[in-house]
């Protein structure tokens, strides 16, 4: 009894002594660990997302970026820890949260039109067993208009380009009308025009008081796109305002050897070009 008692007391003290979690942060993760088949993927995640910010989640492949989002959304079970959305568990706050999965996660040959897919964002509002009505389709059309896809409403989704598919996913998130958005690599594999459209849209969301967390790969564009970053490599290496956290030393810590190798390759390429 003694040892476990001491341990549990210590843990309890730890918690009270640990970082104070702000009352109503959009997202508040407390001591979260996630494991796949007993292999930990995320360790001791402590994080409070500031309100009304564009937040980039940055880290190397396999750092657990998508897993972080999925475990917050209860799609992947947590081994330990607690997640609060605006002060309450996710199950009670679904209506406040929008999710944009990776584009590759669905079958684009599925027999649905672009409008059908966008309308899915309204399903929670419609509720179980109730049919989709014209009002909901109208809302979906408006969202498609906002992402510049109004003309593609009746297209089957496999006939859209990668960038257009991504815009459809964003429109679907828009009609969810959430306060907090999680987006898994919305910029991956899109054309320049779509990238610009997406970032305009994100800033638009921000101006409307939303908070957006975005898994992002392109380090070049991080300072330009995001107010805040979370540097992740199984643990949170650093989190905070981009200008404080997005530094070469921190990136080095996050990417470890991988970045050094990339750096070297970059330098070598530059030298070769100059020759």
């Amino acid at each position: 009894m003694a040892i476990t008692g001491i341990l549990s007391r210590e843990r309890a003290e730890d918690r009270t002594l640990g970082t104070e979690h702000p009352e109503n942060a959009p997202l508040s993760i407390d001591d979260m660990t996630v494991a796949y088949h007993h292999k930990p993927v995320l360790w001791d995640i402590e994080y409070d997302a500031p309100e009304k910010k564009l937040i980039g989640i940055i880290g190397p492949n396999g750092a657990g970026k998508s897993t972080l989002i999925k475990s917050v959304l209860d799609l992947v079970p947590r081994a330990s820890g607690r997640v609060l959305i605006y002060g309450h568990p996710y199950a009670q706050q679904r209506h406040l949260v929008g999710y944009v999965p990776q584009r590759e996660s669905v079958d684009w040959d599925f027999p649905v039109t672009a409008l059908d897919v966008v309308t899915m964002g309204r399903y929670a509002k419609i509720g179980w067993c109730r049919p989709v009505t014209r009002t909901h389709r109208e809302a979906a059309r408006n969202a498609m208009d906002r992402v510049g896809m109004a003309d593609y409403a009746s297209r089957q989704i496999s006939q859209l380009s990668g960038g257009q598919q991504q815009r459809i996913f964003l429109a679907r998130a828009l009609v969810q009308d959430a306060q907090l958005y999680f987006m898994d690599e919305p910029f991956s594999g899109v054309d320049a025009a779509t990238e610009k459209a997406i970032i305009t849209l994100l800033q638009d969301l921000l101006a409307n008081g939303k908070t957006v967390l975005c898994v992002h790969h392109d380090l070049q564009t991080v300072p330009e796109y995001f107010d805040e970053v979370v540097l992740l490599n199984m643990r949170i290496v650093a989190a905070g305002p981009t200008r404080d956290v997005f530094t070469p030393e921190m990136l080095q810590k996050t990417y470890g050897g991988k970045l050094t190798l990339l750096d070297e390759a970059g330098h070598a390429l530059a030298r070769a070009r100059r020759r």
């Binding site: 959304l73 209860d74 679904r94 599925f110 027999p111 039109t113 897919v117 067993c129 049919p131």
Partner: protein, 439 residues
């Protein structure tokens, strides 16, 4: 052919069974778990056996219950094994349903010798005998199996109609469905339960092989024919009906066609034959995804490229100092471009009709409009050659094939971009003039 009430009931049972299966099959296919129907239809055997051992009767309700429980267990076990054993879902499905099937056989052999479970009956069903076992309902005599199948069809129809939106989202994007509060797992198990119940209801009349065929084939064929989920479901229902009606008609008339006029064959088997034929038809003839339409699409693309190539060859011939002495016949064109005589003839015909080419005896010349079109192509080709040499550092004798492909997809805007990105916009790496842009 003597049509009797029996024939009507056989067709009605066939339709009820086929449509029940087809409705659910659409969603199995879209969830990429077509084999789940196969698995469950085998795995329900121990459920049936245990239900019989416990209650000692073959009453439909207990059988349904046993089947439903084992059907869900199949789905659960499959999930577990693939999760904990870290194996592919299809592999764990294979392990689960063969094991359950074997357990079912053991139970039957060891414990339930009294059960008249005929393997042939399980595989092929006995749709011809089913109408003989009737019950009285509101004064009419209705086959017991038709009643059970009717109930199952009603349940399945209600399920698909009321949960249409939920089925669609959980099949398309299970993660989003779950985050929106429509648990994809719940939908999965609901679907599996109904597949199990449907399978058992259909066993008696159409047999397990046809259950598998009707779960998969109508939906798979419908998927080839349309881009809308609602349409897909409706088409699959229509195909199921055609299979049942056509299957029975073939069964009673088919043997006559090949000389056995006083015999008829198995309806369930013929339903599968019709299903197979309809699927083949869809595979070849579907408007967008059919093999014929895909082949036609590729062929028209090839001809349109060939038309451009012909114009390009003739333009280059004209550039030559002694152009007036060169006569280009269709054989020469075929050799220069490396295309078949038929394709060349079709492309030339189209060009002649479009006024871009004119015939002079056995050889061809380009007209004004043809020359303009060709000039754009040759210009794009040579600009690309410049670009490839300058930016990708390719040797001048390696660039022709790539430029040959790119020229067909280069519009004037891209040409302008190429002019900006290359140093000498009027001469290609081989020293030939690049024709000026069209105004």
């Amino acid at each position: 052919m003597d049509w009797t009430v029996l024939d009507t009931w056989i067709i009605v049972s066939g339709i009820l069974a086929a449509v029940s299966c087809a409705l659910l099959g659409n969603f199995l296919i879209l969830r990429k778990m077509s084999m789940m129907g196969d698995a469950i239809s085998h795995a329900v055997l121990p459920g049936l056996a245990v239900a019989f051992l416990i209650t000692g009767s073959r009453a439909s309700m207990t059988m349904f219950l046993g089947a439903a429980i084992v059907g869900v267990l199949t789905a659960v076990f499959t999930q577990w094994i693939s999760h904990f054993g870290q194996v592919e879902e299809s592999a764990s499905m294979g392990v689960v349903f063969t094991s359950l099937f074997a357990i079912g056989l053991i139970i039957i052999v060891r414990g339930a010798n009294a059960v008249d479970l005929d393997p042939g009956c399980v595989l092929y069903g006995a749709i011809e005998l089913a109408p003989l076992n009737t019950v009285q309902l509101g004064g009419a005599e209705i086959p017991r199996s038709a009643l059970a199948l009717g109930a199952v069809l009603l349940i399945n129809t209600l399920f698909v109609v009321f949960f249409f939106k939920e089925l669609r989202i959980s099949a398309f994007d299970p993660e989003l469905a779950t985050t929106l509060g429509f648990s994809a797992r719940l939908m999965h198990y609901m679907l599996m339960t109904l597949v199990a119940v449907t399978t058992v209801a259909c066993f008696e009349s159409v047999g397990s092989i046809l259950v598998i065929a009707m779960l998969i084939v109508p939906g798979a064929a419908a998927h080839l024919l349309t881009d809308r989920l609602i349409t897909m479901v409706l088409i699959s229902v229509a195909i199921a009906v055609v299979c049942a009606v056509g299957g029975h008609l073939l069964a009673i008339t088919g043997p006559g066609w090949i000389g056995f006029s006083d015999m008829s064959t198995n309806t369930a088997g013929m339903m599968a034959v019709v299903a197979g034929a309809l699927f083949t038809l869809a595979l070849f003839g579907a408007p967008r995804y059919g093999l014929v339409s895909r082949w036609l699409h590729l062929w028209t693309l090839r001809i349109s490229i060939l038309r451009e190539d012909i114009l390009g060859v003739l333009y280059r011939v004209e550039e030559h100092p002694d152009a007036s002495n060169v006569e280009v016949s269709s054989v020469l064109l075929g050799n220069a471009i490396g295309a078949g005589a038929l394709d060349i003839r079709v492309a030339v015909c189209q060009l002649l009709r479009g006024g871009q080419l004119k015939r002079q005896g056995t050889h061809f010349r380009i007209t004004g409009s043809g020359r303009e079109k060709a000039r754009g192509l040759v210009r794009a080709h040579r600009l690309w050659e410049n670009y490839l040499v300058e930016h990708l550092h390719l040797a001048a004798d390696h660039i022709h094939p790539t430029a040959e492909q790119l020229e067909h997809i280069t519009d004037t805007a891209m040409q302008d971009q190429l002019v900006q990105d290359t140093r000498q916009p009027d001469r290609d790496p081989h020293g030939r003039d690049i024709p000026p842009a069209l105004d």
